[in-house]
């Protein structure tokens, strides 16, 4: 009987979370991570969506709090008076006798951040705000896919910015030199593809450099690519100032390309700085890269090297060559991004290029390094960038606060992806404990 007596209470004890063992907690965390790692595309979208909502909820309160800390003449947002009391105890923070005013209206802020990016689509589908969104998206697709390709090969290319700058400057200079030879529609048909090719080659070479350093000199690509960003920016500044400077301008920029050497804007007005052709090209490139990765022998080599370098070596993949090739491809894509920036947005090269290359890293991580997913992630970024401008212009909310809200959104959306990557890493360690278990599973499923 003593047996039953002790056995009884012990049963429920097992479920007591207070007793939660380290192994148990660790186990459930590992389980959760590996589930996340296996999440399908649909699940991932759902996860990202909920993260987005959560970030908005938190941002909502941040805007309110910031609004309380500022002084202003009229409240942009106010809560009606509310008194909650439980007998003699008053619930301090949850009750206020008079209406409470806030200097910033969070609903308005988010409304403008998200919807502002699209402008008034119903009245004017070609409005400038929407054009900005699409133009940002287009360039971010290139840099995002560039980072994704390198990621798939197991190389962390942080040098997208430098490759983009090199591609942009080369395109601006070379196309300007060649442009006088041609004109009109023929000029556009030849010069635009030629400019893209120049950007691809320049960016590709600039990407292959750290690739070769990694493959043949064992230099860590994270460090070399970061440093080469500075080199690219500084050299571009020097070349623009001292060699290719537009003599008619006070700004540090090269001379403007003739309009026939630029992307035809087609639908949008010329000064919108966006071309649906370039956007279509960006999407096509993303799809082509996805196809290359999954359907070709080269893509197989790249993915194998990225996932398991030892197995790739066993499978006859030349590791060094694959690293150089994927870095060259990655650099070429970023370089094309730079060419598009010049041919579509600027019409010349200007120093102080926005951080497209760095944003490309976030775009790629948001997309789980999936080239096609990078299109969606780039659109989110485009919306946020263009939307922030609307918030800046249309409300009294300081730009720093808008930056916080943007960062918060990216942080939350990226977090599941971040955990997913961690999950993969942990999963590499985990099979040891799974192995024994899964073995029997072979028998079970028969």
């Amino acid at each position: 009987m003593s047996d039953d007596g002790t056995g009884g209470p012990d049963g429920p004890d097992g479920g007591d979370p207070g007793e939660g063992s380290d192994a148990g907690v660790r186990g459930s965390v590992v389980g959760w991570l590996s589930r996340l790692a296996r999440a399908s595309a649909a699940e991932r979208l759902f996860i990202s969506g909920s993260a987005l909502v959560l970030s908005v909820v938190i941002g909502f309160f941040i805007v309110l709090a910031a609004g309380r800390m500022t002084t202003c003449d009229t409240a942009a947002f106010a809560l009606p008076p509310r008194v909650i009391s439980l007998g003699p105890v008053s619930l301090g923070p949850f009750s206020w006798p008079a209406s409470m005013g806030f200097c910033y209206d969070p609903i308005n802020v988010y409304d403008r951040l998200f919807l502002g990016a699209f402008g008034n689509l119903a009245a004017d589908p070609l409005n400038g705000q929407f054009a900005t969104t699409l133009s940002e998206t287009t360039i971010l697709v290139f840099t995002g896919v560039a980072v994704a390709v390198a990621f798939k090969a197991g190389v962390f290319n942080i040098g997208g910015q430098g490759q983009l700058v090199v591609g942009a400057l080369s395109t601006a200079v070379v196309v300007f030199a060649v442009a006088p030879l041609l004109s009109g529609v023929v000029g556009t048909l030849v010069l635009v593809p030629f400019g893209l090719a120049v950007g691809a080659v320049a960016g590709g070479l600039y990407g292959a450099l750290p690739g070769a350093l990694k493959a043949y000199a064992d230099a860590n690509e994270v460090i070399t690519t970061i440093m080469l960003n500075f080199v690219a920016t500084a050299v571009a500044l020097y070349l623009t100032q001292d060699v290719f400077q537009d003599p008619d301008s006070f700004a540090t920029q090269t001379r403007a390309l003739p309009s026939y050497a630029r992307f035809p804007s087609l639908v949008f007005p010329d000064r919108a700085g966006v071309s649906l052709l370039a956007l279509a090209l960006a999407v096509a490139v993303a799809v082509a890269v996805a196809y290359t990765l999954t359907r070709t022998s080269f893509g197989y080599d790249v993915r194998t090297s990225g996932l398991q370098p030892e197995a790739a070596e066993y499978g006859g993949v030349d590791a060094a060559r694959t690293v150089v090739a994927s870095m060259a491809l990655s650099g070429a894509l970023a370089g094309v991004g730079g060419a598009v920036y010049v041919l579509m947005v600027l019409g010349n090269f200007q120093t102080g290029v926005p951080d497209y290359g760095f944003d490309g890293i976030t775009v790629s991580i948001l997309a789980g390094n999936n080239p096609v997913g990078a299109v969606g992630a780039a659109l989110l970024f485009g919306v946020l960038k263009s939307g922030s401008i609307v918030v800046d212009v249309g409300t009294n909310v300081p730009p720093q606060l808008v930056g916080v809200l943007r960062g918060l959104i990216v942080l939350f959306v990226a977090m599941p992806e971040f955990f997913r990557m961690v999950g993969r890493r942990v999963g590499d360690v985990a099979p040891e404990r799974d192995r024994g278990a899964v073995a029997t599973d072979g028998g079970e499923r028969e």
Binding site: S2, S21, G315, G442
Partner: protein
């Protein structure tokens, strides 16, 4: 006699899988108990439950190193254990020695043994090294261990490291010792030493449970054997009352041919030839030292040796994964010394790698994708740079079917398969290349008896089809049973090439340990190899063997 350990109806479920299904195990105090079973039978999971790594889903664990007491009704006095972590299990007197040792290499034996429970002085501020050393000396004397407490762990042999692990458990007060596959890394001589140690331990009242899938060891070392199959206890027998055949049948669930007699080989032309191959390991130390041999059509050339004597490096040089320092490798008369791995594969070399999870498979790829690893640029799977996934899937399907890979789902990720099934898939893929030469490194490591038998038969089939097979294995039964000629590797050198049918296990063990036994049926310099230039003079061989023996002597 009383029980030291009682596992009562243990069920351990993982998501979607039952690893242990209502297993009851009782271990007498002061005995050696073998837990026998195929891969994935649930042996290690069960022991991890006992060691507190996993809580059981159902069932109770009772442990008492002094023997469990029962009341009049047969129930146990005292409550079942509830281990939340190995720490609790250690406190209850359970110690586990894992397959991979958990020792700190640069520290001394005594430091390793006392690590985490060091005697202290100066009010706990400093480790009392003298007391620690003394405690270790006392312990090793009590149990008759021959261990130098001041030696650095990195410098002692694997067998001694294992003893250090055992001493560590004893130092922490273990009465019940669990050993997970303790013999996997040992030479035959070290295995014999280990079994003596176990005997001494049980004589002094300790209880030992050891996990193994080797029948012979269970019979040799244990007093009682419990066989697990598919997570269930299919029987516990006293070793005195059983036989290899009975145990094998319990393990596999059907009758097994333990010793296959294969027809002798009819060797033809040389296919794979190594001449004076020398190569270094990652640390730059010479790992393969002037190795020469020839493998002919229609023969199995075995390479035996304790792991870590240069076999892995030799195989990597032959297959093109490692740079050599000097020497030549020829494949079908062609010099492939500097050819890439892909070139060698195209020239007809299949390769079953030693490490299936690092090299042989991409764990995140499914079987279809893994099925073309190594052929991703070749017909019929690739055409003008594009992969034909339909063909690849058909191919994977065939391999899965022929080699009985479970689950038979080509869409399953490689990581979801058990080790044995992963291995079967790799072997199937490589054998399907229709190669001229197969380099198989530990082709049945971690594979259960039934599948091992199948893989062995296939190797012999390929041999009989006229392929050249280079077989590297640390399983003596395997290399002896399959090889037509057997080379022994020790410290990077081929110390001898012997007739596997005539050599005794003792002689092999001595050769593997770098000794020079008498009357070895050596094939070196004999008529068999007369045609091979590097083996023309028996004199060099003798000198070489001497050199190695002297080498071994230096170490002691």
């Amino acid at each position: 006699m009383s029980e030291a350990v009682r596992l009562d109806g243990i069920t351990k479920r993982f998501p979607g899988v039952v690893a242990n299904d209502d297993v009851t195990l009782s271990v007498e105090r002061g005995t050696v108990h073998a837990l026998l079973g195929e891969n994935g039978a649930g042996k290690t999971t069960l022991m991890n439950v006992l060691y507190g790594l996993f809580p059981p889903t159902e069932g109770d664990v009772y442990v008492d190193g002094e023997g469990l007491e029962r009341d009049d009704g047969g129930g146990y006095v005292g409550s079942p254990e509830r281990f939340d972590s190995p720490r609790d299990a250690i406190d209850a007197g359970v110690g586990m020695i894992h397959q991979h040792f958990m020792l700190v290499d640069p520290m001394t034996v005594a430091e390793n043994i006392t690590l985490g429970n060091e005697p202290r002085k100066w009010g706990g501020l400093a480790v009392d090294r003298a007391a620690a050393r003394e405690a270790v000396v006392d312990l090793s004397e009590r149990y008759g261990f021959d261990v130098d407490p001041d030696a650095t762990v990195a410098d002692v042999s694997v067998g001694v490291q294992q003893r250090v692990e055992i001493l560590k458990a004893l130092y922490r007060g273990a009465d019940v010792l669990i050993l997970d596959e303790p013999t996997a890394v040992l030479t035959p001589q070290e295995v014999a030493d280990l079994f003596e140690v176990l005997e001494e331990l049980t004589a002094q009242g300790k209880t030992v449970i050891f996990i193994t899938h080797k029948l012979g060891e269970a019979l040799d070392a244990a007093d009682e054997v419990t066989v697990l199959r598919d997570g269930r206890n299919v029987g516990s027998v006293r070793t005195a009352d059983t036989s290899r055949e009975e145990l094998a049948e319990l393990m596999v669930g059907r009758e097994v041919m333990l010793e296959s007699d294969y027809e002798p080989a009819t060797p033809g032309d040389p296919v794979l030839r190594a001449e004076g191959v020398t190569a270094s390991d990652e640390r730059g130390v010479v790992a393969v030292d002037d190795v020469s041999f020839t493998v002919r059509e229609g023969e199995v050339f075995g390479v035996a040796g304790v792991d870590g004597n240069g076999q892995s490096e030799l195989v990597e040089v032959l297959t093109g994964l490692r740079d050599h320092e000097s020497g030549r490798v020829e494949l079908r008369g062609r010099d492939v010394t500097d050819a890439s791995r892909r070139d060698r594969a195209r020239a007809g070399m299949a390769y079953v790698p030693e490490d299936r999870q690092e090299r042989g498979l991409v764990m995140e790829f499914d079987l279809t994708e893994n099925g073309i690893l190594g052929s991703q640029h070749d017909e019929p799977f690739a055409r003008s740079g594009r992969v034909d996934w339909d063909r690849a899937d058909d191919h994977a399907e065939r391999v899965v079917e022929e080699f009985d890979v479970r689950p038979p789902d080509t869409g399953a990720e490689a990581r979801s398969l058990s080790g044995g099934n992963q291995q079967k898939f790799i072997v199937g893929r490589e054998f399907a290349r229709d190669p001229a030469c197969i380099v198989a490194s530990h082709p049945t490591r971690g594979v259960d008896i039934g599948s091992t038998e199948f893989i062995h038969d296939r190797i012999i089939d390929l041999r009989d089809e006229g392929k050249a097979v280079l077989l590297v294995s640390s399983k003596l039964d395997e290399v002896r049973g399959l090889s037509d000629r057997l080379a022994v590797m020790y410290r990077g050198r081929l110390v001898d090439v012997v007739d596997p049918d005539a050599v005794t296990e003792e002689q092999l063990g001595l050769l593997m340990a770098g000794e020079e036994p008498d009357d070895v049926p050596s094939l070196r310099g004999g008529a068999d190899d007369a045609a091979d230039p590097p083996e023309e003079s028996g004199g060099t061989d003798a000198g070489r063997t001497d050199g190695v023996a002297g080498d071994g002597g230096d170490r002691e």
